[in-house]
Amino acid sequence: MHGARREWPRVAGLLLALAMALSIAHSVYRIPVQVGDSLDVILVSRHAESSVELLKDASTWSPTTLRPMRYLQARWLSVLAESLGTSYHAVFRGTHAALATIIVGLIAWIANPRRWADVVALGIALTVLIGLHTFDAMMREAFPVNHYAEVAAAALFVLGSSLRPHRLISEIVVLLALVWGLLLIESAGLIWIVIVTCAALRMPGMRTRTAVMATVVLALFFIARWQLEISTPGIGSHSSGWGGGVLSGDELAARFSTNPWPFYAYNVSGGALSLLASEPRFGMYQLLAAQAAGSLNPVVTINLVSSLGMTVVLIICCWSAMRRPFHQWSLETKTLATGIVVITVSAVLCAAYIKDDIISTAGVLYAVMAYLAVQWALGRLETGMRDTSVVALALCLALVAPLWGFRAVGTHYELRRVAFTTRNDWALKSVNVLAGGDSASRDDVARTGRLRGEALRQRVTSPTFLPDWGERYWVE
């Protein structure tokens, strides 16, 4: 009887995660396959005779990136759709929706709630995850599957398996995920960061040999980039936020090409602050922009207050846990330390180009840290409400919990708007133009026609029917 009762929080946590995962997966699945970033990749991925040929070709297509897996997985998924006789939408969007579910599930797996207070902490952490703008960025875009979501899922798996007793199968999966991720997008270096950090912190599931093998994999990746003469994009390749506005690539190059360090420092600090305070976004401080425009949308205030409140709880929790000598660190403290490392490295990755996607893996780690921080704060409540610091913590949580819930609903709202614009993108051009014009092959035109037909058949809600106030309270 007692055993069964002990299981109830675990079951409740699982149901909560399942409910949140299914609804976010549903919102993601409603978005049609994109024209921009997806169609071209799907078409090009089928031009090669074989996957091996595609792997070779795709490795040389870009002077600044080595991302052959982007094309390979697009090819495999489109072949899968054709061989199953199902729609491209079901396979591509289904994969993206599955990734959303996996990320939510992995956080619940890491959290592993045992008490009712843990379930509450998990609920808040999941609203933090879904409400974060970095999660929204992972869900709204696809290339044709969102690479950052794959990296985030892999990083969570590494962390989760590190917290549990070592298993050979987990070790193999971790290394395979790193190889897959590195050939997909450079941000997968964060998977290596998590592996090495977990090994350095002597987590039970992570062996030093895994970290060594992961380092060899990373070194091979850099050697391959060097052999293929792949360089790093410099300043001026993208526009970027600066203060309360946006500078074009040319303006950035003119201002910072001789001394890029102020720009790098601005972006690194902006990358960290974007996650910890929801400001700036893409390098632009909306508070400054609002000051110049003379009006401030409530969404900026809501995001700022909710993020700062949670970050304050996090900082107090980290400060309290990490003051102890290292040999006394619990697994929770080591998890918090891993989160800090990932957030720091993610901020550094923003040096040349800052955008929400780059800090999305840090975003999922932030949600894990939020779970631990809320769990710790609820534990402090047991010691009594008379302590001033505990009362301050309680007030902070009382403020941020509903705000994060509100932000999580906003992500669903935003994904519905994205579904509408994405579907409309298919309608405004003919199949021939979408497929690449007169030079398009018959296969390309046929696949484009099929994708367009599927996109048009995907019913979406017009933003006209969504509540007017939603734009001011949810859309930045």
């Binding site: 609804s23 009382a398 919990a401 819930g405 309608a427 019913r459 979406v460 969504l466």
Partner: protein, 149 residues
């Protein structure tokens, strides 16, 4: 129930609401939903809301773009109205949509053109006017002799 239990329950409430509302909206979505608005619209409503993809889908599935369809209240006025897609496009001052409709086979005879021009006179969109003026027609009746829906 202790104050701590009450407080913890309060903290857990937003996440529970998000989860329940999420599940409910997922399950109820095919039938029009409750949390989120319905995604079923008539062709004229799709025109009125700038839903190009839905207009294309409906036309490609055989819906006649020359026939009037209902437009719910608050989209193009305070009350529900029956409009042809072309009339809805002119009312919505959406020249791009009007062009798509014309390219998609909407027939605009003299009487229909007169109605469209008179609707546009009320709204006054230059791009829409240019499109309507490009449609060949004979002399049209003045707007006070035209019934505008």
């Amino acid at each position: 129930m202790s104050s701590r239990t009450l407080f913890v329950t309060y903290l857990g409430l937003p996440a529970c609401v998000v989860a329940l509302v999420g599940v409910w909206s997922t399950l109820s979505n095919p039938s029009g939903g409750w949390v989120w608005p319905p995604d079923r619209v008539t062709i004229s409503e799709a025109v009125a809301t700038g839903d190009y993809a839905e207009v294309m889908r409906l036309m490609e599935s055989g819906v006649d773009p020359n026939l009037a369809a209902s437009v719910r209240a608050d989209l193009l006025g305070g009350s529900p109205v029956q409009l042809t897609p072309a009339q809805a496009a002119v009312r919505a001052r959406n020249a791009q949509m009007l062009r798509i409709l014309l390219d998609g086979g909407v027939i605009v005879g003299p009487s229909r053109l007169a109605v469209l021009k008179c609707i546009n006179d009320e709204n006054g969109d230059r791009d829409v006017r240019a499109l309507l003026d490009a449609i060949p027609s004979g002399p049209l009746p003045p707007c006070d002799q035209v019934t505008i829906p």
